[in-house]
């Protein structure tokens, strides 16, 4: 017959249940001790934890790791400059969660970061992941400063903990089209006809729809709108159709793999439009693409996130990135800027308390970051001071051509005939 061990008295006359009670009490005291001990330590050398969240593995790993480096650079710089001064020089510690390129994993990582005691979150380089992580963070009253997340839904859900640092799609299209109009006007309006080539998913299709609505107001006629699936293995047909339609300007809207094939096919088929201009196109803002395809990439213009290269802080960041043998991509720049804002929010809140950090982010205006932004103020979760710039591939470099006050080089617009 089975013997119930838990109630059998031992040699001293005490049964197992008493022992368990005693053990439990001891554990509880020990646990209290471990909670109390760091509290004492914290008073001696205060530490504020910032949670980083992003895809370090999976399909978006490259962007995620780049952004993580940006967050770490910003924290290192802040610590070197004396930490959080309003909290007695508290040092900042980064705790990072890998979202594995999946929204559900990102949300689960938020739980872990909240448990680790972070004051706010910075990340997560993707709209889909940011939608999930901000939702999860709201349960802990935890602010998330989103570095890159372009979907408008992110700021339309009324969550009080969402602070999007960089522009979303609507602002990007407005600015991209306005910048194009200015570039065209300055050059004597060489562009009168446009062809849009876009991937047929939500990103490309919504971009094509918005462009079709806005371009006629600039006096530009859309002569072709060509959609294609992802992946598209061959762009010959598309370029042949473009050659037949003879547009002055080509506006591609697809992901980097398709852009590489598209740009190469344009060169192969000796098609020479007056300009190639994209919004969030990725081609002219990806230094790897420029290095590996110098001929196909030449003169391509993109509207994208980028830092203000004239600021000394930006130049120092570029040096750090080069020293770390990393590519200087916008992931690093925006993550660095978003982390600067998160640190300043803790500084202004004078506390690592999550509610106070949210209040600071909601009500305060933030000072200069590496980005070419105006005064940074979050209204409805969106940074009203955020802006995009126009980048152009020149030689083996990516140069800022517009707006003028941050430009590093004069634009080549229209392109020289390369047919």
């Amino acid at each position: 017959m089975a013997h119930d061990d838990t109630t059998s008295p031992d040699a001293t006359g005490r049964n197992r249940r008493d022992l368990l009670k005693a053990g439990g009490s001891t554990l509880a005291v020990a646990a209290l001790g471990t909670v109390a001990a760091p509290a004492v330590l914290r008073a001696q050398a205060p530490v504020v934890k910032i949670g980083g969240i992003g895809p370090l593995t999976g399909a978006l790993a490259y962007n995620g790791n780049q952004a993580k480096a940006g967050v770490q650079f910003a924290i290192d710089d802040a610590n070197a400059a004396g930490g959080i001064k309003s909290m007695g020089g508290a040092k900042i510690e980064l705790v990072y969660g890998d979202a594995e390129s999946r929204p559900d994993v990102g949300a689960a990582q938020v739980d872990k970061l909240a448990e680790a005691g972070v004051s706010c979150l910075v990340g997560s380089q993707s709209s889909a992941i940011s939608l999930a992580t901000t939702q999860a963070a709201a349960r802990f009253n935890l602010a998330q400063v989103i570095d890159v997340g372009t979907a408008e839904q992110i700021v339309q859900r009324g969550l009080p903990n969402v602070f999007r640092f960089s522009p979303g799609t609507a602002k990007a299209v407005d600015e991209g089209v306005a910048n194009l109009a200015t570039l065209n006007d300055q050059a004597g309006k060489p562009v009168k006809t446009v062809a849009i080539v876009h991937e047929d998913g939500p990103f490309g299709s919504s971009m094509a729809k918005l462009l079709n609505e806005k371009l006629p107001a600039l006096g530009m006629t859309v002569v072709e709108t060509i959609s294609h699936p992802t992946p598209q293995r061959d762009f010959t047909n598309i370029v042949l159709r473009l050659k037949a339609a003879k547009p002055d300007l080509v506006m591609p809207s697809h992901y980097i793999n398709e852009f590489i094939l598209f740009a190469r096919t344009i060169r192969q088929q000796r098609f020479s439009p007056k300009a190639i201009y994209s919004i969030f196109g990725g081609g002219a803002s990806n230094i790897k693409f420029v290095r590996e395809n110098p001929d196909a990439a030449q003169y391509v213009i993109d509207t994208n996130h980028w830092y203000d290269p004239r600021k000394p802080l930006s130049q120092a960041l570029a040096k750090k990135v080069a020293d770390a043998k990393l590519d200087l991509t916008y992931d690093i720049m925006v993550a660095y800027g978003a982390t600067q804002v998160a640190i300043e929010a803790i500084e202004k809140a004078k506390s690592s308390d999550r509610a106070k950090v949210i209040e600071a982010l909601s009500t305060q205006t933030f000072s200069d970051t590496v980005m070419p932004y105006g005064p940074i103020k979050f209204v409805g979760g969106d940074n009203t001071g955020s802006h995009l710039v126009n980048l152009q591939v020149r030689g083996d470099k990516i140069e800022v051509i517009f707006p003028k006050d941050v430009a590093t080089i004069a634009p080549v617009f229209p392109f020289p005939d390369r047919s």
Partner: protein, 289 residues
């Protein structure tokens, strides 16, 4: 639009040649040995990385690297079949399917861990060289791939028809037990066949690299079409794979031209369904297999 038909057909033929190259390896493994090799796309990706790194580290042109990658992937394929697929599947078809799926998951995630998901390309001096054929410009690397597809299909046909190994492979495909009784080493023959199929992927990768990109997911862009090509051409038919690949390329190009690129792939799968309905054994079903 009609003026674009001939350039579109030429472009379709060159794209189809790549489908055929990828499908040649698959038709040997899938058609002759009846192994559904889920790892075929992943092996293509691995071969593209091999050619890429030979170019980046040693400066080898992909065409110069072709024999190296082909031999390397023959050895890899042989080893995979002999010591992984055969060992873990215990001869059961369902197990073979799962083992090749496992290999594909390991290769894909290994590539993600090692090389990240960043897209890579190489810049070769002839990338933008064009050959003018009638009203169309055809990129030189695609023309080379087209010629190579014809050459490889011919070489494989010779191997299968006029060598002892080819006879052994066909014998094993028809009657494994009978072949074993005749003294054919079935395990070795299976592994040789898998090795040759994988070597084709290695060659295809070197011919594809000058005009395409490499990411850990790149195999998926071709493998589904390759399976369709094999079924359309007739399982195990090398000539069938070649003709079907070229045909699918042209169908895709013309559908893209007339129905829009988004609907271009409809033609591929319409042809696939029609073949299954009208000629389930494929257009060129081999007599032996």
């Amino acid at each position: 639009m009609l003026g674009l038909v001939i350039p579109a057909i030429l472009s379709g033929l060159t794209t189809g040649a790549v489908y055929a190259l990828v499908a040649l390896g698959l038709t040997l493994i899938y058609g002759v040995l009846h192994i559904i090799n889920f790892a075929h796309g992943s092996l293509l990706m691995a071969a593209l990385y091999a050619a890429l790194f030979l170019n980046m580290r040693l400066g080898l042109d992909p065409y110069v690297a072709l024999p190296i990658v082909t031999v390397l992937f023959f050895c890899l394929g042989y080893a995979l079949q002999r010591w992984v697929v055969d060992t873990f599947s215990h001869g059961r078809d369902a197990n073979i399917l799962l083992v090749t799926l496992a290999i594909s998951i390991i290769i894909d995630n290994g590539a993600l861990a090692l090389f990240t998901s960043n897209t890579r390309t190489i810049d070769v001096p002839y990338a933008f060289d064009m050959v003018e054929i009638g009203p169309a410009f055809v990129p030189l690397p695609k023309l080379v791939a087209f010629g190579a597809a014809l050459l490889f299909a011919g070489l494989l046909w010779l191997l299968m028809r006029h060598t002892r190994l080819g006879t052994a492979i066909r014998a094993v495909a028809v009657e494994k037990r009978g072949a074993e009784l005749m003294g054919i080493d079935v395990k070795h023959t299976y592994a040789m066949c898998f090795g040759i199929g994988t070597a084709c992927v290695g060659a295809a990768a070197c011919l594809l690299l000058p005009t395409f990109y490499v990411t850990p997911q790149v195999g998926y862009a071709f493998v589904l079409v390759a399976f369709t090509t094999v079924v359309l051409g007739g399982m195990g038919s090398l000539g069938g794979a070649l003709v079907a690949g070229l045909l699918l390329g042209v169908i895709e190009a013309l559908c893209g031209l007339f129905l829009g690129e988004t609907l271009g792939q409809i033609g591929i799968f319409a042809a696939f369904i029609l073949t299954l309905l009208l000629r389930p054994a494929g257009l060129f079903a081999p007599r032996a297999a």
